[in-house]
Protein backbone atom coordinates (compact mmCIF):
# COMPACT_ATOMS: atom_id res chain seq x y z
CA UNK A 1 0.00 0.00 0.00
CA UNK A 2 2.90 2.32 0.77
CA UNK A 3 4.20 1.94 -2.77
CA UNK A 4 0.76 2.72 -4.22
CA UNK A 5 0.40 5.82 -2.06
CA UNK A 6 3.92 7.06 -2.87
CA UNK A 7 3.25 6.74 -6.61
CA UNK A 8 -0.17 8.38 -6.21
CA UNK A 9 1.24 11.31 -4.28
CA UNK A 10 3.87 11.79 -6.95
CA UNK A 11 1.14 11.97 -9.62
CA UNK A 12 -0.54 14.72 -7.60
CA UNK A 13 2.73 16.64 -7.31
CA UNK A 14 3.32 16.22 -11.03
CA UNK A 15 -0.20 17.41 -11.84
CA UNK A 16 0.26 20.55 -9.76
CA UNK A 17 3.62 21.19 -11.43
CA UNK A 18 2.06 20.82 -14.85
CA UNK A 19 -0.15 23.77 -14.01
CA UNK A 20 -3.23 21.70 -14.55
CA UNK A 21 -4.65 23.38 -11.50
CA UNK A 22 -4.65 26.64 -13.45
CA UNK A 23 -7.61 25.15 -15.31
CA UNK A 24 -9.51 25.40 -12.04
CA UNK A 25 -9.01 29.14 -11.95
CA UNK A 26 -9.86 29.37 -15.62
CA UNK A 27 -13.07 27.57 -14.72
CA UNK A 28 -13.80 30.20 -12.07
CA UNK A 29 -13.20 32.94 -14.60
CA UNK A 30 -15.56 31.31 -17.11
CA UNK A 31 -18.31 30.98 -14.50
CA UNK A 32 -17.69 34.61 -13.48
CA UNK A 33 -17.91 35.70 -17.09
CA UNK A 34 -21.14 33.80 -17.65
CA UNK A 35 -22.79 34.84 -14.41
CA UNK A 36 -23.58 38.53 -15.22
CA UNK A 37 -25.03 37.49 -18.57
CA UNK A 38 -27.78 35.54 -16.85
CA UNK A 39 -31.17 37.24 -16.95
CA UNK A 40 -32.60 38.19 -13.58
CA UNK A 41 -35.75 36.11 -13.65
CA UNK A 42 -37.80 35.68 -10.54
CA UNK A 43 -35.87 34.65 -7.45
CA UNK A 44 -34.83 31.00 -7.65
CA UNK A 45 -34.79 30.70 -11.43
CA UNK A 46 -31.47 32.50 -11.79
CA UNK A 47 -29.94 30.29 -9.10
CA UNK A 48 -31.23 27.13 -10.77
CA UNK A 49 -29.95 28.24 -14.15
CA UNK A 50 -26.55 29.07 -12.67
CA UNK A 51 -26.37 25.69 -10.93
CA UNK A 52 -27.20 23.94 -14.19
CA UNK A 53 -24.54 25.85 -16.13
CA UNK A 54 -21.94 25.40 -13.37
CA UNK A 55 -22.38 21.63 -13.25
CA UNK A 56 -22.31 21.38 -17.04
CA UNK A 57 -19.07 23.40 -17.10
CA UNK A 58 -17.63 21.26 -14.28
CA UNK A 59 -18.46 18.19 -16.33
CA UNK A 60 -16.74 19.62 -19.40
CA UNK A 61 -13.60 20.68 -17.51
CA UNK A 62 -13.62 17.46 -15.46
CA UNK A 63 -13.73 15.21 -18.52
CA UNK A 64 -10.98 17.17 -20.29
CA UNK A 65 -8.79 17.04 -17.16
CA UNK A 66 -9.46 13.32 -16.69
CA UNK A 67 -8.32 12.63 -20.25
CA UNK A 68 -5.23 14.89 -19.98
CA UNK A 69 -4.19 13.40 -16.66
CA UNK A 70 -4.72 9.79 -17.70
CA UNK A 71 -3.23 9.75 -21.19
CA UNK A 72 0.03 11.37 -20.13
CA UNK A 73 0.83 9.10 -17.17
CA UNK A 74 2.26 5.82 -18.48
CA UNK A 75 3.34 6.84 -22.02
CA UNK A 76 5.09 9.91 -20.56
CA UNK A 77 6.96 7.80 -18.03
CA UNK A 78 7.97 5.23 -20.65
CA UNK A 79 9.14 7.92 -23.07
CA UNK A 80 11.19 9.70 -20.42
CA UNK A 81 12.29 6.38 -18.95
CA UNK A 82 11.41 7.54 -15.42
CA UNK A 83 9.41 4.31 -15.16
CA UNK A 84 12.70 2.34 -15.09
CA UNK A 85 13.68 3.99 -11.81
CA UNK A 86 10.38 2.90 -10.26
CA UNK A 87 9.98 -0.63 -11.59
CA UNK A 88 13.62 -1.51 -10.86
CA UNK A 89 12.74 -0.98 -7.18
CA UNK A 90 10.62 -3.49 -5.23
CA UNK A 91 7.47 -2.15 -6.90
CA UNK A 92 5.31 -4.45 -8.99
CA UNK A 93 3.35 -3.36 -12.03
CA UNK A 94 -0.03 -3.68 -10.29
CA UNK A 95 1.12 -1.28 -7.57
CA UNK A 96 2.44 1.09 -10.21
CA UNK A 97 -0.82 1.08 -12.16
CA UNK A 98 -2.99 1.43 -9.05
CA UNK A 99 -0.75 4.24 -7.76
CA UNK A 100 -1.11 6.08 -11.05
CA UNK A 101 -4.89 5.69 -11.04
CA UNK A 102 -5.22 6.69 -7.41
CA UNK A 103 -3.06 9.76 -8.09
CA UNK A 104 -5.33 10.74 -10.99
CA UNK A 105 -8.40 10.34 -8.75
CA UNK A 106 -6.89 12.42 -5.94
CA UNK A 107 -5.89 15.14 -8.43
CA UNK A 108 -9.37 15.17 -9.98
CA UNK A 109 -11.00 15.18 -6.56
CA UNK A 110 -8.84 18.12 -5.43
CA UNK A 111 -9.54 20.08 -8.60
CA UNK A 112 -13.28 19.45 -8.41
CA UNK A 113 -13.40 20.33 -4.75
CA UNK A 114 -11.95 23.74 -5.56
CA UNK A 115 -14.39 24.07 -8.47
CA UNK A 116 -17.28 23.28 -6.10
CA UNK A 117 -16.13 25.97 -3.69
CA UNK A 118 -15.93 28.45 -6.55
CA UNK A 119 -19.50 27.61 -7.58
CA UNK A 120 -20.73 27.85 -3.99
CA UNK A 121 -19.16 31.27 -3.55
CA UNK A 122 -20.45 32.56 -6.89
CA UNK A 123 -23.94 31.17 -6.24
CA UNK A 124 -23.93 32.70 -2.79
CA UNK A 125 -22.87 36.05 -4.19
CA UNK A 126 -25.46 35.97 -6.98
CA UNK A 127 -28.48 34.58 -5.14
CA UNK A 128 -27.57 35.06 -1.46
CA UNK A 129 -28.45 31.37 -0.96
CA UNK A 130 -26.04 28.70 0.24
CA UNK A 131 -26.54 25.64 -1.99
CA UNK A 132 -24.59 22.61 -0.70
CA UNK A 133 -26.60 20.41 -3.10
CA UNK A 134 -24.14 21.56 -5.76
CA UNK A 135 -21.58 19.23 -4.13
CA UNK A 136 -23.78 16.29 -5.08
CA UNK A 137 -23.74 17.33 -8.73
CA UNK A 138 -19.97 17.83 -8.74
CA UNK A 139 -19.47 14.45 -7.05
CA UNK A 140 -21.46 12.79 -9.86
CA UNK A 141 -19.18 14.57 -12.35
CA UNK A 142 -16.18 13.25 -10.41
CA UNK A 143 -17.52 9.70 -10.72
CA UNK A 144 -17.91 10.17 -14.47
CA UNK A 145 -14.34 11.51 -14.70
CA UNK A 146 -13.13 8.50 -12.67
CA UNK A 147 -14.65 6.10 -15.23
CA UNK A 148 -13.26 8.07 -18.19
CA UNK A 149 -9.75 8.28 -16.68
CA UNK A 150 -9.76 4.51 -16.01
CA UNK A 151 -10.80 3.96 -19.63
CA UNK A 152 -7.97 6.22 -20.88
CA UNK A 153 -5.41 4.60 -18.57
CA UNK A 154 -6.45 1.22 -19.94
CA UNK A 155 -6.09 2.39 -23.53
CA UNK A 156 -2.61 3.82 -22.95
CA UNK A 157 -1.44 0.32 -22.01
CA UNK A 158 -2.79 -0.96 -25.31
CA UNK A 159 -2.22 1.76 -27.86
CA UNK A 160 -0.69 5.18 -28.61
CA UNK A 161 -1.63 8.53 -27.06
CA UNK A 162 -3.32 10.03 -30.17
CA UNK A 163 -5.50 6.92 -30.61
CA UNK A 164 -6.34 7.00 -26.88
CA UNK A 165 -7.47 10.64 -27.08
CA UNK A 166 -9.58 9.93 -30.17
CA UNK A 167 -11.08 6.83 -28.53
CA UNK A 168 -11.77 8.75 -25.31
CA UNK A 169 -13.78 11.39 -27.19
CA UNK A 170 -15.68 8.66 -29.02
CA UNK A 171 -16.24 6.79 -25.75
CA UNK A 172 -17.59 9.91 -24.08
CA UNK A 173 -20.16 10.65 -26.77
CA UNK A 174 -21.08 7.01 -27.33
CA UNK A 175 -21.66 6.46 -23.62
CA UNK A 176 -23.85 9.55 -23.43
CA UNK A 177 -26.00 9.04 -26.48
CA UNK A 178 -26.20 5.28 -26.76
CA UNK A 179 -28.57 4.75 -23.85
CA UNK A 180 -31.84 5.83 -25.39
CA UNK A 181 -31.00 4.27 -28.74
CA UNK A 182 -30.04 0.89 -27.28
CA UNK A 183 -32.90 0.99 -24.83
CA UNK A 184 -35.37 1.50 -27.69
CA UNK A 185 -33.83 -1.45 -29.56
CA UNK A 186 -33.91 -3.57 -26.41
CA UNK A 187 -37.56 -2.86 -25.71
CA UNK A 188 -39.02 -2.33 -29.15
CA UNK A 189 -37.18 -4.65 -31.50
CA UNK A 190 -39.04 -7.64 -32.85
CA UNK A 191 -35.84 -9.46 -33.76
CA UNK A 192 -34.57 -11.68 -30.95
CA UNK A 193 -30.97 -11.44 -32.16
CA UNK A 194 -31.11 -7.64 -32.24
CA UNK A 195 -32.59 -7.64 -28.75
CA UNK A 196 -29.74 -9.79 -27.41
CA UNK A 197 -27.15 -7.65 -29.19
CA UNK A 198 -28.69 -4.42 -27.94
CA UNK A 199 -28.98 -5.87 -24.45
CA UNK A 200 -25.32 -6.95 -24.39
CA UNK A 201 -24.18 -3.52 -25.58
CA UNK A 202 -26.56 -1.77 -23.21
CA UNK A 203 -25.04 -3.45 -20.18
CA UNK A 204 -21.44 -3.68 -21.40
CA UNK A 205 -21.02 -0.01 -22.25
CA UNK A 206 -21.21 2.33 -19.28
CA UNK A 207 -24.09 4.73 -19.38
CA UNK A 208 -22.46 8.05 -18.56
CA UNK A 209 -25.87 9.74 -18.55
CA UNK A 210 -26.33 8.13 -15.14
CA UNK A 211 -23.86 10.65 -13.79
CA UNK A 212 -25.72 13.62 -15.24
CA UNK A 213 -27.85 14.84 -12.34
CA UNK A 214 -27.63 18.54 -13.16
CA UNK A 215 -31.40 18.77 -13.64
CA UNK A 216 -32.15 17.26 -10.22
CA UNK A 217 -29.54 19.50 -8.59
CA UNK A 218 -30.58 22.68 -10.39
CA UNK A 219 -34.34 22.37 -10.45
CA UNK A 220 -35.09 19.87 -7.68
CA UNK A 221 -33.69 18.99 -4.31
CA UNK A 222 -30.91 16.83 -5.71
CA UNK A 223 -30.69 13.06 -6.22
CA UNK A 224 -31.59 10.57 -3.51
CA UNK A 225 -28.93 9.01 -1.31
CA UNK A 226 -29.84 5.62 -2.80
CA UNK A 227 -29.28 6.92 -6.34
CA UNK A 228 -25.91 8.43 -5.36
CA UNK A 229 -24.86 5.13 -3.81
CA UNK A 230 -25.97 3.29 -6.93
CA UNK A 231 -23.99 5.47 -9.32
CA UNK A 232 -20.96 5.28 -7.00
CA UNK A 233 -21.10 1.49 -7.24
CA UNK A 234 -21.67 1.76 -11.00
CA UNK A 235 -18.54 3.94 -11.38
CA UNK A 236 -16.45 1.64 -9.17
CA UNK A 237 -17.55 -1.38 -11.20
CA UNK A 238 -16.61 0.06 -14.59
CA UNK A 239 -13.39 1.69 -13.30
CA UNK A 240 -12.38 -1.70 -11.81
CA UNK A 241 -13.12 -3.49 -15.10
CA UNK A 242 -10.97 -1.00 -17.05
CA UNK A 243 -8.12 -1.15 -14.52
CA UNK A 244 -8.15 -4.97 -14.55
CA UNK A 245 -7.94 -4.95 -18.37
CA UNK A 246 -5.15 -2.35 -18.13
CA UNK A 247 -3.23 -4.59 -15.74
CA UNK A 248 -3.68 -7.63 -17.98
CA UNK A 249 -2.18 -5.65 -20.87
CA UNK A 250 0.54 -3.96 -18.81
CA UNK A 251 1.60 -7.01 -16.77
CA UNK A 252 4.02 -8.39 -19.35
CA UNK A 253 4.40 -5.40 -21.61
CA UNK A 254 7.97 -4.72 -22.77
CA UNK A 255 9.10 -1.31 -21.57
Amino acid sequence: MRNVLSIAWNVVRDASRRRIFYVVFLFGLVVLAVSPLLPNFELGTTGAFLKDISISLTSLFGVVLAVILAVTQIPGEVEKRTIYNILSKPVNRAQYLLGKYLGILISLFGIMLVMSLEILVLLGAKTSVFSPVILQGVFAVFLEAAVISAFCLMLTTLTSVPITIFAAILFYFLCHIKTSFLHQKLIGSTSGFLKVLAGAAYYAIPNLENFNISQQVAYGGGASAYYMLRITGYAIFFAAVFIIIAFAAFRRKDL
Binding site: N10, R13, Y84, N85, K89
Partner: protein, 308 residues
Protein backbone atom coordinates in the same frame (compact mmCIF):
# COMPACT_ATOMS: atom_id res chain seq x y z
CA UNK B 1 32.79 -15.52 -5.00
CA UNK B 2 30.82 -18.78 -5.15
CA UNK B 3 27.32 -17.39 -4.97
CA UNK B 4 25.75 -16.27 -8.22
CA UNK B 5 24.52 -12.68 -8.22
CA UNK B 6 23.30 -12.94 -11.80
CA UNK B 7 22.71 -16.07 -13.81
CA UNK B 8 21.22 -16.24 -17.28
CA UNK B 9 20.76 -19.39 -19.33
CA UNK B 10 19.95 -19.55 -23.03
CA UNK B 11 18.07 -16.27 -23.07
CA UNK B 12 16.40 -15.31 -26.33
CA UNK B 13 14.51 -12.14 -27.00
CA UNK B 14 12.91 -10.95 -30.21
CA UNK B 15 11.01 -7.77 -30.99
CA UNK B 16 8.39 -7.34 -33.64
CA UNK B 17 9.41 -4.76 -36.22
CA UNK B 18 6.74 -2.05 -36.18
CA UNK B 19 4.26 -2.29 -39.03
CA UNK B 20 5.43 -5.71 -40.18
CA UNK B 21 5.11 -9.33 -39.16
CA UNK B 22 8.87 -9.68 -39.06
CA UNK B 23 10.81 -10.08 -35.86
CA UNK B 24 14.25 -8.79 -34.96
CA UNK B 25 16.42 -10.82 -32.63
CA UNK B 26 17.85 -8.64 -29.85
CA UNK B 27 19.39 -11.41 -27.72
CA UNK B 28 20.14 -14.96 -28.84
CA UNK B 29 21.13 -17.91 -26.68
CA UNK B 30 22.75 -15.74 -24.03
CA UNK B 31 24.17 -17.35 -20.92
CA UNK B 32 25.95 -15.34 -18.24
CA UNK B 33 27.23 -15.97 -14.74
CA UNK B 34 28.20 -13.10 -12.46
CA UNK B 35 29.47 -14.13 -9.04
CA UNK B 36 28.90 -12.16 -5.85
CA UNK B 37 31.59 -9.57 -5.25
CA UNK B 38 32.54 -9.45 -8.91
CA UNK B 39 32.73 -6.31 -11.01
CA UNK B 40 31.32 -7.49 -14.30
CA UNK B 41 31.50 -5.52 -17.53
CA UNK B 42 29.07 -6.08 -20.39
CA UNK B 43 30.56 -4.76 -23.60
CA UNK B 44 29.46 -4.57 -27.18
CA UNK B 45 28.86 -2.21 -30.06
CA UNK B 46 25.56 -0.35 -30.43
CA UNK B 47 22.70 -2.77 -30.98
CA UNK B 48 24.61 -5.70 -29.50
CA UNK B 49 21.80 -6.43 -27.03
CA UNK B 50 23.34 -5.01 -23.85
CA UNK B 51 20.42 -2.82 -22.79
CA UNK B 52 17.90 -5.55 -23.63
CA UNK B 53 19.89 -7.92 -21.43
CA UNK B 54 19.76 -5.44 -18.54
CA UNK B 55 16.04 -4.92 -19.06
CA UNK B 56 15.45 -8.69 -18.97
CA UNK B 57 17.35 -8.84 -15.67
CA UNK B 58 15.25 -6.04 -14.23
CA UNK B 59 11.91 -7.40 -15.42
CA UNK B 60 11.33 -4.43 -17.73
CA UNK B 61 11.35 -6.73 -20.74
CA UNK B 62 10.37 -10.41 -20.85
CA UNK B 63 12.52 -13.01 -22.58
CA UNK B 64 10.91 -15.27 -25.21
CA UNK B 65 12.77 -18.25 -23.78
CA UNK B 66 15.52 -19.14 -21.33
CA UNK B 67 15.79 -18.88 -17.57
CA UNK B 68 17.69 -16.77 -15.10
CA UNK B 69 18.26 -15.81 -11.50
CA UNK B 70 18.88 -12.49 -9.83
CA UNK B 71 20.43 -12.58 -6.36
CA UNK B 72 19.43 -16.22 -6.04
CA UNK B 73 15.79 -15.66 -7.00
CA UNK B 74 14.10 -16.41 -10.32
CA UNK B 75 13.86 -13.50 -12.77
CA UNK B 76 10.66 -11.59 -12.20
CA UNK B 77 10.66 -12.15 -8.43
CA UNK B 78 10.35 -8.55 -7.21
CA UNK B 79 11.70 -9.41 -3.75
CA UNK B 80 15.19 -9.57 -5.29
CA UNK B 81 14.85 -5.88 -6.15
CA UNK B 82 15.07 -4.94 -2.47
CA UNK B 83 18.81 -5.66 -2.69
CA UNK B 84 19.28 -4.18 -6.13
CA UNK B 85 20.35 -0.77 -7.37
CA UNK B 86 19.94 0.38 -10.96
CA UNK B 87 21.13 3.33 -13.01
CA UNK B 88 19.58 3.51 -16.48
CA UNK B 89 21.44 4.93 -19.47
CA UNK B 90 21.11 8.73 -19.66
CA UNK B 91 18.74 8.69 -16.72
CA UNK B 92 15.69 10.90 -16.41
CA UNK B 93 14.07 11.61 -13.09
CA UNK B 94 11.04 13.50 -11.91
CA UNK B 95 12.58 16.88 -12.56
CA UNK B 96 10.07 18.72 -10.40
CA UNK B 97 11.56 17.06 -7.31
CA UNK B 98 14.61 18.30 -5.44
CA UNK B 99 17.50 15.87 -5.03
CA UNK B 100 16.59 15.04 -1.44
CA UNK B 101 12.86 14.70 -2.23
CA UNK B 102 13.74 12.44 -5.16
CA UNK B 103 15.77 10.17 -2.88
CA UNK B 104 12.94 10.29 -0.33
CA UNK B 105 10.48 9.05 -2.97
CA UNK B 106 12.72 6.19 -4.07
CA UNK B 107 13.56 5.35 -0.45
CA UNK B 108 9.89 4.77 0.37
CA UNK B 109 9.84 1.89 -2.11
CA UNK B 110 12.47 0.16 0.02
CA UNK B 111 10.41 0.70 3.17
CA UNK B 112 12.98 3.09 4.64
CA UNK B 113 11.74 5.32 7.45
CA UNK B 114 12.28 9.09 7.52
CA UNK B 115 15.31 9.09 9.80
CA UNK B 116 17.06 6.30 7.93
CA UNK B 117 16.28 8.01 4.63
CA UNK B 118 17.59 11.39 5.72
CA UNK B 119 20.82 9.86 7.00
CA UNK B 120 21.38 7.77 3.87
CA UNK B 121 20.49 10.66 1.54
CA UNK B 122 22.98 12.97 3.28
CA UNK B 123 25.72 10.34 3.02
CA UNK B 124 25.06 9.55 -0.63
CA UNK B 125 24.66 13.13 -1.84
CA UNK B 126 27.96 13.86 -0.14
CA UNK B 127 29.56 10.77 -1.75
CA UNK B 128 28.51 11.85 -5.25
CA UNK B 129 29.39 15.49 -4.62
CA UNK B 130 25.85 16.88 -4.58
CA UNK B 131 25.57 17.77 -0.90
CA UNK B 132 25.34 21.48 -1.66
CA UNK B 133 22.68 20.95 -4.33
CA UNK B 134 20.31 18.78 -2.33
CA UNK B 135 17.58 21.45 -2.31
CA UNK B 136 17.79 22.20 -6.03
CA UNK B 137 15.11 20.76 -8.30
CA UNK B 138 16.50 18.15 -10.69
CA UNK B 139 15.49 20.24 -13.73
CA UNK B 140 18.31 22.61 -12.75
CA UNK B 141 20.89 19.81 -12.72
CA UNK B 142 23.48 19.44 -15.46
CA UNK B 143 23.91 16.10 -17.24
CA UNK B 144 26.84 15.19 -14.99
CA UNK B 145 24.90 16.10 -11.85
CA UNK B 146 21.95 13.98 -13.00
CA UNK B 147 24.29 11.07 -13.61
CA UNK B 148 25.70 11.44 -10.10
CA UNK B 149 22.20 11.72 -8.65
CA UNK B 150 21.38 8.54 -10.58
CA UNK B 151 24.24 6.76 -8.87
CA UNK B 152 23.07 8.05 -5.48
CA UNK B 153 19.56 6.65 -6.04
CA UNK B 154 21.06 3.36 -7.25
CA UNK B 155 22.95 3.03 -3.95
CA UNK B 156 20.11 4.25 -1.74
CA UNK B 157 19.17 0.83 -0.34
CA UNK B 158 22.81 -0.19 0.20
CA UNK B 159 22.30 -2.85 -2.49
CA UNK B 160 24.17 -6.13 -2.85
CA UNK B 161 24.06 -5.79 -6.64
CA UNK B 162 24.37 -2.53 -8.58
CA UNK B 163 23.43 -2.56 -12.28
CA UNK B 164 24.75 0.43 -14.19
CA UNK B 165 23.95 1.13 -17.83
CA UNK B 166 26.55 3.44 -19.38
CA UNK B 167 27.30 5.33 -16.16
CA UNK B 168 29.77 7.68 -17.90
CA UNK B 169 27.71 8.28 -21.02
CA UNK B 170 27.99 11.84 -22.28
CA UNK B 171 30.26 13.00 -19.46
CA UNK B 172 33.45 15.01 -19.87
CA UNK B 173 36.76 13.44 -18.76
CA UNK B 174 36.48 15.01 -15.28
CA UNK B 175 32.96 13.63 -14.89
CA UNK B 176 34.09 10.21 -16.12
CA UNK B 177 36.91 10.20 -13.58
CA UNK B 178 34.49 11.11 -10.78
CA UNK B 179 32.14 8.28 -11.77
CA UNK B 180 35.07 5.86 -11.91
CA UNK B 181 36.15 6.90 -8.40
CA UNK B 182 32.63 6.28 -7.11
CA UNK B 183 32.63 2.84 -8.75
CA UNK B 184 35.95 2.01 -7.11
CA UNK B 185 34.52 3.14 -3.78
CA UNK B 186 31.52 0.84 -4.28
CA UNK B 187 33.86 -1.98 -5.26
CA UNK B 188 35.81 -1.51 -2.02
CA UNK B 189 32.58 -2.10 -0.11
CA UNK B 190 32.38 -5.59 -1.61
CA UNK B 191 29.30 -4.97 -3.74
CA UNK B 192 28.64 -6.80 -6.98
CA UNK B 193 28.63 -4.40 -9.92
CA UNK B 194 27.12 -5.23 -13.30
CA UNK B 195 28.32 -2.56 -15.67
CA UNK B 196 27.31 -2.04 -19.26
CA UNK B 197 29.63 0.43 -20.92
CA UNK B 198 31.21 1.73 -24.08
CA UNK B 199 34.06 3.22 -22.05
CA UNK B 200 36.65 0.48 -22.46
CA UNK B 201 39.18 2.21 -20.23
CA UNK B 202 36.56 2.44 -17.49
CA UNK B 203 35.80 -1.27 -17.77
CA UNK B 204 39.49 -2.15 -17.87
CA UNK B 205 40.11 -0.11 -14.72
CA UNK B 206 37.28 -1.38 -12.57
CA UNK B 207 36.07 -4.75 -13.86
CA UNK B 208 37.50 -8.15 -13.09
CA UNK B 209 35.37 -10.10 -15.57
CA UNK B 210 33.71 -9.18 -18.85
CA UNK B 211 31.40 -10.43 -21.54
CA UNK B 212 31.60 -9.06 -25.05
CA UNK B 213 28.33 -9.20 -26.97
CA UNK B 214 27.83 -8.82 -30.69
CA UNK B 215 24.58 -9.15 -32.63
CA UNK B 216 22.75 -10.38 -29.55
CA UNK B 217 25.19 -13.15 -28.70
CA UNK B 218 27.95 -13.52 -26.13
CA UNK B 219 31.12 -13.81 -28.20
CA UNK B 220 33.76 -13.66 -25.46
CA UNK B 221 33.46 -14.05 -21.73
CA UNK B 222 35.84 -14.57 -18.84
CA UNK B 223 38.17 -13.05 -16.26
CA UNK B 224 39.64 -9.87 -17.69
CA UNK B 225 43.20 -10.75 -16.67
CA UNK B 226 42.94 -14.05 -18.54
CA UNK B 227 41.36 -12.54 -21.62
CA UNK B 228 43.99 -9.82 -21.90
CA UNK B 229 46.92 -12.16 -21.33
CA UNK B 230 48.85 -13.07 -24.49
CA UNK B 231 50.24 -16.58 -24.21
CA UNK B 232 54.01 -16.92 -24.66
CA UNK B 233 54.98 -13.26 -24.21
CA UNK B 234 56.59 -11.49 -21.24
CA UNK B 235 56.75 -7.78 -20.56
CA UNK B 236 59.91 -6.47 -18.88
CA UNK B 237 60.11 -2.93 -17.53
CA UNK B 238 63.60 -1.52 -16.91
CA UNK B 239 64.79 1.74 -15.39
CA UNK B 240 67.12 3.64 -17.74
CA UNK B 241 67.16 4.26 -21.46
CA UNK B 242 68.65 1.55 -23.66
CA UNK B 243 69.41 4.08 -26.42
CA UNK B 244 71.76 3.04 -29.25
CA UNK B 245 73.06 0.12 -27.17
CA UNK B 246 69.68 -1.62 -27.65
CA UNK B 247 71.07 -3.57 -30.64
CA UNK B 248 71.91 -6.41 -28.26
CA UNK B 249 68.17 -6.66 -27.51
CA UNK B 250 67.14 -7.13 -31.13
CA UNK B 251 65.74 -10.58 -30.32
CA UNK B 252 62.94 -8.82 -28.37
CA UNK B 253 59.50 -8.55 -30.01
CA UNK B 254 59.53 -4.82 -29.22
CA UNK B 255 61.71 -2.30 -27.39
CA UNK B 256 60.27 1.03 -26.28
CA UNK B 257 62.18 3.73 -24.42
CA UNK B 258 60.60 6.82 -22.92
CA UNK B 259 61.25 9.09 -19.94
CA UNK B 260 64.09 6.99 -18.59
CA UNK B 261 62.15 3.72 -18.81
CA UNK B 262 62.66 0.88 -21.27
CA UNK B 263 59.91 -1.63 -21.90
CA UNK B 264 60.61 -4.95 -23.62
CA UNK B 265 58.21 -7.55 -24.98
CA UNK B 266 59.98 -10.86 -25.35
CA UNK B 267 59.10 -14.50 -25.91
CA UNK B 268 58.89 -16.35 -22.59
CA UNK B 269 61.92 -18.45 -23.60
CA UNK B 270 63.98 -15.24 -24.04
CA UNK B 271 63.14 -13.77 -20.61
CA UNK B 272 66.41 -14.78 -18.86
CA UNK B 273 68.49 -13.75 -21.88
CA UNK B 274 66.79 -10.34 -21.90
CA UNK B 275 67.39 -9.86 -18.18
CA UNK B 276 71.09 -10.68 -18.60
CA UNK B 277 71.44 -8.28 -21.54
CA UNK B 278 69.66 -5.58 -19.56
CA UNK B 279 72.05 -6.04 -16.66
CA UNK B 280 75.03 -5.84 -18.98
CA UNK B 281 73.58 -2.58 -20.38
CA UNK B 282 73.33 -1.19 -16.85
CA UNK B 283 69.51 -1.12 -16.84
CA UNK B 284 67.77 -1.82 -13.55
CA UNK B 285 64.90 -4.25 -13.38
CA UNK B 286 61.54 -2.72 -12.41
CA UNK B 287 59.10 -5.53 -13.22
CA UNK B 288 58.60 -8.79 -15.12
CA UNK B 289 55.05 -9.84 -15.91
CA UNK B 290 53.01 -11.75 -18.50
CA UNK B 291 52.31 -9.53 -21.47
CA UNK B 292 48.76 -8.15 -21.62
CA UNK B 293 47.06 -6.49 -24.54
CA UNK B 294 44.65 -3.61 -23.98
CA UNK B 295 40.92 -4.20 -23.68
CA UNK B 296 40.47 -1.99 -26.72
CA UNK B 297 42.63 -4.37 -28.78
CA UNK B 298 40.73 -7.38 -27.48
CA UNK B 299 37.37 -5.72 -28.12
CA UNK B 300 38.15 -4.65 -31.69
CA UNK B 301 39.71 -8.00 -32.49
CA UNK B 302 36.71 -9.89 -31.11
CA UNK B 303 34.14 -7.75 -32.92
CA UNK B 304 36.11 -8.06 -36.17
CA UNK B 305 36.38 -11.84 -35.82
CA UNK B 306 32.70 -12.33 -35.03
CA UNK B 307 31.52 -9.90 -37.70
CA UNK B 308 33.22 -11.96 -40.35
Amino acid sequence: MDELAVGLENIRKTYRIAGTRKKKTAVEDLSLAVHSGEIFGLLGPNGAGKTTTLKILLGLVYADSGTGTLLGRPLGDRSAHASLGFLPEQPYFYNFLTADKGLALYGKFFGMDKGELAERATYLLDLVGLARNSHLTLEKFSKGMLQRFGIAQALLNDPDLVILDEPSSGLDPVGQKEIRDILLHVREQGKTIFLSSHQLSEVENVCNSVCIMNAGRSVKEGMLSELLKVEGLTRIVLAGAAGPRAESLDFARSVESSEGTTTLEVANSDTYRALEEARSLGLELVSVEPYHRSLEDLFLETIKETAS
